[in-house]
């Protein structure tokens, strides 16, 4: 599926966008067909947001758009115009990890780490929405993010701890 193109070389028509990415205002012109995730990764250079299926299933590319978790492979870059985007790179800008990231590390909630940024962004949005109150709801809320390594168990434990959700006793 198409990735970022070298617009200048192709004389392809571009559209101007202005958006805020991780607190910085960006003005740029992009090919209309560029997906948001391709733009973030190859246009802005924020490669922490990953690509897994390009059809909105796997959740690797989850970012926050105006605070709401969104799959950035299903958005075109021009649709980000006028919006505020947050990616994984903004979560712990300093030396310290974010408490959610610490919880994931402490509970061995990641293995290959490819899906991890997506889970972090989903869980952060979940925290803000206050939606998850029990383990079943939490698992349902996380079901838009796939992981092939962990069986989710330790991810659920870590996110539950972060959100203050009580897990089922085993």
């Amino acid at each position: 599926m198409p990735r970022v193109t070298d617009a200048g070389a192709q004389m392809t028509p571009t559209v101007g966008i202005r958006c805020v990415v991780n607190g910085k205002t960006i003005e740029d012109s992009v090919e209309p067909r560029t997906s948001l995730v391709d733009y973030l990764r190859h246009g802005v250079g924020l490669t922490g947001t990953h690509v897994g299926c390009e059809q909105g299933v796997c959740g690797m590319c989850t970012v926050l758009v105006d605070g709401v978790a969104a799959k950035s492979c299903l958005m075109l870059a021009p649709q980000a115009d006028g919006h505020e985007i947050r990616t994984i790179e903004s979560v712990a800008p300093g030396e310290e990890l974010h408490p959610l990231q610490e919880a994931l590390r402490d509970h061995h909630g990641l293995q290959c780490g490819y899906c991890t940024p997506g889970f972090v962004m989903t869980a952060l949005a979940l925290k803000d929405s206050g939606a998850a109150c029990d383990e079943a709801t939490l698992r349902a809320e996380l079901s838009g993010n796939l992981c092939r390594c962990t069986g989710y168990q330790n991810i659920v434990t870590a996110v539950a701890e972060f959100l203050g959700v009580e897990e089922h006793p085993a």
Binding site: T5, T47, Q55, D106, A170
Partner: protein, 957 residues
Amino acid sequence: MTETLHEPQTESPPVGPWIGERVPRFEDERLLRGRGQFVDDFDDSRVLHVAVGRCPYPHASILDIDMSEALAVAGVEQILAGREVAARTQPLSVLRPLPDVPRLPFRALAVDRALYEGHPVVSVAATSRAIAEDALELVDIEYEPLPHVVDAEAALEPTAPQIWDELDSNLVVHNPRIEGDVDGALSRADARVADRFAIGRVSALPMEGRAIQAGYSPGISTLDVMVSTQIPHMFRLQLAEALEFREADIRLRAPDVGGGFGLKLGMYPEDVVVCLHAIDLGCTVRWIEDRMEHFRASTHAREAVHRAELGMNRDGTIQGMRDRYIIDMGAYNSPFGPPMLSSLMFPGPYRVRDCEVDRRVVATNKTPVGAYRGYGQPESNFVREILVDRAARSLELDPVEVRRRNVLRPHEMPWTNAGGAVYDSGDYLRPLEKAIEAIDYERVRAEQRQRDGDSRRLGIGVASFVEMTGYPGSRFLGKHGAAYGAHESVTLRANRSGGIDLYTGVATFGQATETTFAQITASVVGISPDAVAVHAGDTLGTPYNVGSFASRTTIAGAGAILAAGNDLRAKVLRIASGFLDAPVDALDLLDGSVVVLGAPQRRMALADIAAEAISGHHLSANEDPGLESTRYFDPPASAFGNGTAAAIVEVDVATGIFEVLRFVIAHDCGQQVNPALVEGQLHGGLAQGFGAAFFEGLQYDQDTGQMLNGTMVDYLVPTAADLPSFEIHHADVPSPVTPLRNPWGRRGRNDSARCRRCQRALRCARTVASRDQSTTAHSGVVVACDRRSRATPTLGFRQGGSDVKFEEVFEVSAAREKVWEFFDLEAERVGMCIPGAEEIHSLGDDKYRLKVAQKVGSMGATFDLRARIRDRQPTEMMSLSATGRSIKGARGDVRATAVVSLEDKGDGTTIRLDADVALGGMIGSLGHKVIAQKAEEITRDFAVALGESMTSWTAAS
């Protein structure tokens, strides 16, 4: 939830302080921040991107490739096709060849014939992926679909289309093995149970697909390759062989790898092509597999049909076992090829002496299969455990009691099983009892009986297994034709910051090599794990090794680290002895400093010792400078993990909807280096088993040969909402087969924790639950749940080789000569009668180009077609062909042939249209039924339009 049953029983060397600790992973910091470096995360501002064109049909001749239009696209740098690539490269080497099988050359791009949907045919390098894909759409490839077969049993029929001329049939290899008197043992048994088990075709589906970047500069002449692989050193060798390069001229590294599970073992066709582009263009070139490609072009796994039988005596003793099975290899032998361990491990943990295993590997027109967690073990575990349960049931015995009676006991070890494997050690009863106790078996059985007659029943499933981990030595592998050894290696080098640099060829893809290797090194040498810097997966500067698979990395790696660590430690103490003026045996290396025993104030930091060793300024005359060691470890035998899984499942009798109430596994993987990581591996293996049991399975349409569910939307993998919590109990007994140089008796962690273990226990549970209902309800439940059960296999190929054939006969009032004239002179008008035709242009020489828009099911697409009149018999017959692909909407390719014949019918004419349409790509994946229905509709509308058009034309002329 986690509990270690007992301390290691055998006498073993002291376990280092960091062994068995839940040390947080060193990999996590960067991965959690999104600062991992996967191949596609490296700067691509001066990188060319590759898109690969793939055959949309299961089997086709490649008649012509016209790349002129594509080459004219601005930004396109190079297009490669099969013949050129074949002339310049060797076929992919097979790392684990099937014994006694002729070489089936797997070329980087298909030459003249493509053997499976997704087979790479052309490759475009351009300034961006989008441009490369745009150009790919303009490469005009003329295919002639050939007869195909996508079912392994059908492929063995004598009339099946033959895929390889190098073979006598589609049977690639037949490996029978009989131990003891199987017929006799089965005939003496009080009960015999037998069945056919179809194991589904699955994808390992790592979240990061395959990825490669290759850079080449004239003058430097080193091919600098980054690739998402589990085996950097072997990959480099394969690449050198394919490109006919010196190994020394290739540097290959695996940066962060987003999951492997066996799928990333070895080189694939695209890897060779990307390197060719880089060499030809003298620059850096990248290819990132997208998910559509992943489903079609990365190895699949597991698919097999087992016909198995088990005989049991009234007292529960297993008398004999038999498993005759067919493995669907796909079109090629991939580097690791079909699974090798099903036969070997079929006897499992039981005392079975009379056993037959009989493997046949079959070629089909499907994506090649490759390694995937367990490499054939989950399949035979599944078959065996189901049979054990059924035999117990037929004799009215308790399935747990039967297992107790048959599992091997410690005094019988080492045990050579009837498949040929030598079990090193183990107390198989321990995890069985532990799992039974943990799940509260007797109480749940009682509850199950109470619920008899309820609408929601309980099922209890139990499954025991032994699992081969690691290999019994390099010589053993050499004898069996493997291209690799069984060893691992490390270089340990003390640095002047007081730490140790560890160099390993192992790539890190989730199994936490950076952490476990640091823990082991720290324990051996006497420093803190965070003082160990693990440099992994780069062939530059790491000793040759084998790589990460078969749950072998930590077993073999630990032995190498132990040897090198002991070397290093000995030299550190020798050097310190001179400076501290104390004999070596009065010294110890603790927390990064050498101290004099009994006089802890007399100490020398490792940093200072390293500085002295490296400068050499004050070393004694008989001491070489430097402080490093490279060591290899070749395990003398395989270590066998073992365990028992138990599940409680609640099933709604009416609907078949079930819930896994509890899932318990008790296992023995020997001494654990880091229990958190062991549990993580188990969780992941169990989740994949759960997926294979309930969700996953790649489906092919027998008639079209197309994969039906090759997208993430259609191929379901478990989500967090689908899985239960897994309860893990450790019952570790150290393995004695690694004692000489590896003191920790480590068995394979669990990579292989596996899949089928989960599947098996769940299936058992489900079946048990449903068995307790009436027969009718029973079958209803099983059918509702068993997503992978298949109807009786039909012959999965078509002699005509095309997907949909149809005919339409209709009459027009015009005379035959008039009708012929219309067809002959007004081809463009005829073309516009095709429903959805938007435009048609004559290209001269009986060639036409037309655009046709169609909607099939929910998918719409506009096709760009090249049509040609191939034959004419005036007033009688005309034949045409058309090929093309969709340029808008759903991806798809189409090829059609049509014959129009005319016959007199009174004053009018009967027009007979015989057509044959093959659809590939996403539209083809709709399957035969949908397409056939659509084709009928199109033909009908075409006939009507043609009749009308001709009437108006006749009237006008």
